[in-house]
Symmetry: none
Subunit: 276 residues, 2 copies
DNA sequence: TTTATTTTGTAATAAAACTACACAATGAAT
DNA sequence: ATTCATTGTGTAGTTTTATTACAAAATAAA
């Protein structure tokens, strides 16, 4: 629509061009304005605004505004922007959300299909799952535990590094470890994975590409996002990790066929509506 | 917007629900209708339609239609698709990521600036923060705890409902509660909030629009997403809740000025690279 | 310059959105 | 069960917004 206006501009009459200019100048303002407001800003009469709409193949002003609004909605591209102390709350929220969205888009385009398939195969071959993550990653591991224990095999998450060490020492070749770490460089998690592998357990890591953790795992599901604008904690990588683990869990479920999917959907409704 | 309507539906009055149903039934028709047309189709009076719009945080019918139109326009970019047993891993991942992205886009467009400002003010006025969430929402509460305790005031998260009750009873007027719940209907969390309010603590809720929890909070930060395609747990609303709480925390930090932002950024690097 | 044609604005009309208020339904307290 | 208070819903009127009809400028052609 916006480009349509630009294209049509030179074919319009003089005062209609003024309307076109006013709309192009601030389209977001335009979609919220009445005919009167636009007419005033473009310094033309109200019927001129309507004629302008009709010239653009709209039946009236309302339809024009609707089409323009939809156009603006679609134009949404998401990118990082640093927050500043001068931002209004609205700007702040939009910037942060945009950043989060951008990171998910990035992850979507980076998903490694082969790793995912191998991870699914590892789950199918194991008899139980342990999830390790500390600090912020503990949250992700716990969230994943909730998903995995509905898939039919025992799943448990540990967030204390010492307990992780102890738990890892007790694993066997039928156990599967899912190790979550943002940087993949924490010595605790590396030590834990080392112990787990010595016990012949399989290891899936959810971490940064080419990090030490990724390199010492059987399968690495990598999550790399631009963290520059995260102030407190790597929110974006946390979101990414959660979604990637969701993908893994759903992937496993899907291998169980449509029947299993339905069953899980029912289970979810029964549980969540009561408790969450 | 559409998912907001669905989420808010049960919190609406009877005739407003009729309007909701009419809109959900054919949203494309709705964006082109006048109040009169919608009122007729829903078999209610015209003011009821306006009240319905207001209940959804719109200033009037026009704004409602505009938001709805933009929502419909965006459907095309990232949209929900049900996963099937025939999907390849890649397709599966894309579908799930698209769904997650779509939900964040929705949340971005729904952010209520006024609520956010009020929530920030509540944090600034309090002397300590307690975060309550159980089940899946416990994960969100814990994640938020990590953010909030870096802002300079004590912050603690409880995930056991009984302990939440006990903790809430010990609050005073300087305490701030952040209550997280997907549905906003769990009796545990409602009870906890009731106790907290009786102790004169302030309550910010992170939950569905017009849910009981939202209604009994001082400020509601609403998170409404279409959960149809979530198999295990409401991943999408979980992501949304985490981001919304991140926005709140960053909002608080930003009020502390650029200096505080820098300090936090340094703190984050120091902490996270070691532990996560 | 006059005349036809196009363009633009004024003023009236129609339609839509919104408000104030009154009646009806619901629920709590006696 | 009856009254009172509260909440919900509709009727009727008001204001705002969109649209039309038409007349006055402006422009171009003869």
């Amino acid at each position: 629509m916006l480009s349509k206006i630009k294209a049509a501009r030179s074919g319009l009459r003089k005062s209609e061009q003024k309307v076109a200019d006013a709309v192009i100048d601030d389209p977001d303002e335009a979609v919220q304005s009445s005919i009167h407001a636009i007419a005033t800003r473009a310094k033309v009469s109200e019927p001129t605004v309507i004629r302008f709409c009709r010239a653009l193949d709209c039946v009236g002003f309302q339809q024009f505004k609707l089409k323009l609004a939809q156009d603006l909605a679609r134009r949404g591209t998401f990118f990082y922007q640093d927050v500043t102390a001068q931002d209004t709350s609205k700007q702040l929220a939009s910037k942060l959300l945009d950043g989060a969205i951008a990171s998910l888009v990035q992850i979507r385009d980076q998903i490694n299909e082969e790793s995912l398939d191998r991870a699914i195969a590892l789950y199918e071959a194991c008899s139980r799952v342990e999830l390790y993550g500390s600090g912020g990653s503990a949250v992700v591991a716990e969230d994943a535990q909730l998903k995995f224990f509905r898939l039919g095999k025992p799943a448990i998450a540990y967030s204390d590094p010492h307990i992780q060490h102890a738990a890892a020492a007790l694993l066997d070749r039928d156990a599967l470890v899912i190790a979550v770490s943002h940087s993949g460089r924490s010595s605790d998690i590396l030590k834990t994975v080392e112990i787990a592998r010595a016990a012949r357990a399989k290891v899936i890591s959810v971490t940064a590409t080419r990090s030490p953790l990724a390199q010492c795992s059987d399968v690495a599901l990598t999550v790399d996002v631009n963290e520059d604008s995260d102030i407190f904690s790597p929110v974006k990588s946390r979101l990414g990790q959660m979604v990637v683990l969701d993908v893994l869990a759903v992937g496993v479920a899907v291998r169980g066929g449509d029947h299993m999917l339905e069953q899980l959907a029912r289970a979810r409704r029964a549980i969540d509506f009561k408790f969450v």
